[in-house]
Symmetry: C2
Subunit: 332 residues, 2 copies
């Protein structure tokens, strides 16, 4: 494959000049530039980004490690990250951690070796030694969606607390008392935060939460289904099932449908995370929507600030309750 030397030879100039044309430096005369460009065309020259990166110590690449690209929430975030990065002249390498710390570490290692300019991580579970090293030795790092307690890393995330309070009030107003929650993993900041908000909101509304109405899943559909099944098998099943993310809501829905139960008469359903098709279900599902695109975009902006070693601050955006009909009709 033709390199800069071939172009230089073909155009009868030095490699330095070709390089200047490549980086459109002003210190090149019009005719010379013309000659060089012609030579590039003739040879089908494609600049070697690897060599350039080696020399400039910058790859113009960002790494993004997410839980699962099949989860529409992450997909939307990934998409936004990509768009914003491209607009800033960066490429994004996406790694699917599949919620497994060792796979997350695999990607952290790989991306570090590839010398990405910055890293966006949706951390799975607790901090691994590798991630700790990253922050200690100063790789530009930003957490997305989730945080890791006690780590001095800027984070861009949504806060669902207020929306969960709204949801519980909505449920209470509809006359429900027995509310069960399929929470996320205790190890994830989002899992903890949503559980805490749920508990607080219930107390505030004067509803009590039985132990058997609170169980933690793993943010995947299968666990949502299994937990919903256990809730429904209880001697006194809950009137409402609130799922901690959209996949577990899908799982719960599977179970409810499989039993031929009606929503909301037999059991009401609500979900943290909204997805496009909730609105098409009968009844449409009441959900809490997170600003996934905005999170992705802001995360890139914060990360690029960090890359340029400017001081940055964490970003918290509010999630918002979208009332539909899966918890009952509002008597407006």
């Amino acid at each position: 494959m033709a390199g800069i030397k071939d172009v230089a030879a073909h155009a009868g100039v030095s490699v330095a000049t070709v390089s200047r044309v490549l980086n459109d430096s002003p210190r090149v005369s019009a005719e010379t530039r013309e000659k060089v460009v012609t030579a590039m065309r003739a040879l089908h020259y494609t600049p070697n980004g690897v060599a350039r990166s080696l020399r400039t110590e910058a790859t113009r690449t960002l790494g993004l490690i997410i839980g699962d690209i099949l989860n529409p929430f992450f997909a939307a975030m990934a998409r936004a990250v990509e768009d914003e990065a491209r607009a800033a002249g960066y490429t994004v390498v996406i790694g699917n951690a599949d919620e497994r710390p060792e796979q997350q570490d695999h990607y952290v290692r790989t991306l570090l070796e590839q010398r990405v300019d910055g890293l966006l991580i949706c951390p799975t579970a607790e901090a691994t030694p590798l991630v700790e090293d990253c922050v200690r030795y100063g790789s530009p790092l930003v957490f997305l969606d989730r945080t890791l307690p006690g780590m001095d890393v800027p984070a861009v995330r949504a806060d669902g607390t207020a929306a969960i309070h709204d949801l519980v009030r909505h449920i209470q107003r509809l006359g429900h008392r027995r509310v069960a929650f399929i929470s996320g993993p205790e190890l994830l900041s989002t899992g903890r935060e949503r559980t805490r908000a749920f508990l607080d909101a219930m107390r505030e509304c004067g509803l009590d939460v039985r132990d058997e109405y609170l169980e933690a899943g793993d943010f995947q559909a299968a666990s949502g289904r299994a937990i919903a099944a256990r809730f429904l098998d209880l001697p006194e099943p809950p009137e409402v099932i609130f799922a901690g993310d959209n996949l577990m809501a899908l799982g719960a829905l599977d179970e409810i449908r499989a039993r031929g139960l009606r929503i909301p008469d037999d059991v009401a359903l609500a979900s943290f995370d909204d997805v496009a098709w909730f609105v098409h279900l009968d009844p449409p599902i009441t959900a809490i929507t997170q600003p996934a695109e905005e999170l992705g975009r802001r995360a890139v902006r914060v990360l690029l600030e960090r890359v340029e070693r400017r001081p940055v601050e964490s970003v918290v955006l509010p999630a918002r309750l979208v009332i539909r009909r899966s918890c009952g009709e509002t008597e407006s």
Copy 2:
């Protein structure tokens, strides 16, 4: 950041030896290896993949250019590509072409500059000059999901012809006569193939297709909705709407729901592409399912063969009809 020289100095050996340890060459004594490993740990050494790639002319990276990561079909394919690539020791860079040729070209260019070892493309519309150059100058290229006519590039795709015939027969057996098709873009091989299969199947079943029952969308939800609206506004609207992909089916569904029409009594609906939540709709949507994961995995395998300059063949996998209830009850 510590480099191989620092490690060599710290361990009291030459850089060559460190490199040998890095690539676990057998020509290094146990003690020396030990010393080197210790030095690496002490210095938090992370090998520089950029330098390695420059020297070895291989990045162990694959590029994947898809239409839209938000489309669950592409997301599933991307996920499978990633898994298979990781298993083979490769990283994947995903580019979202957003069905725009110029954005596709942007990614082709970028990925070529980054010297990916191979490129997987779901081509948007017709061949661009850039893509033509790729095949002419021999970058390892494999088409995924779609093909480009007259280009000598191996492709991994699904064939929906048989499934579409099955669908039309199913529809006919249920007594419907007036079937409308929201086709994909004429420029995409998948669009053309599905339209042709639909027309053939209709003829074979003795049903005729009115001009006003055939309109091309762009594989995005909005076009599906608009076209469905035009179908339903016709003096004699169709009994069945068949959408050429899942997003246009979603759009059509939006429109049907907005008009308060019942499925399948007022209008039946079927979709090319199956997605997880179709089963939860009332009624569940009859759809044609493509083996997205299998496509992704096979594509990586074919591409890696090409990377190693072994001869490869295109792969065609069948799509399959999944009968649910959105076209009417089967009187079994």
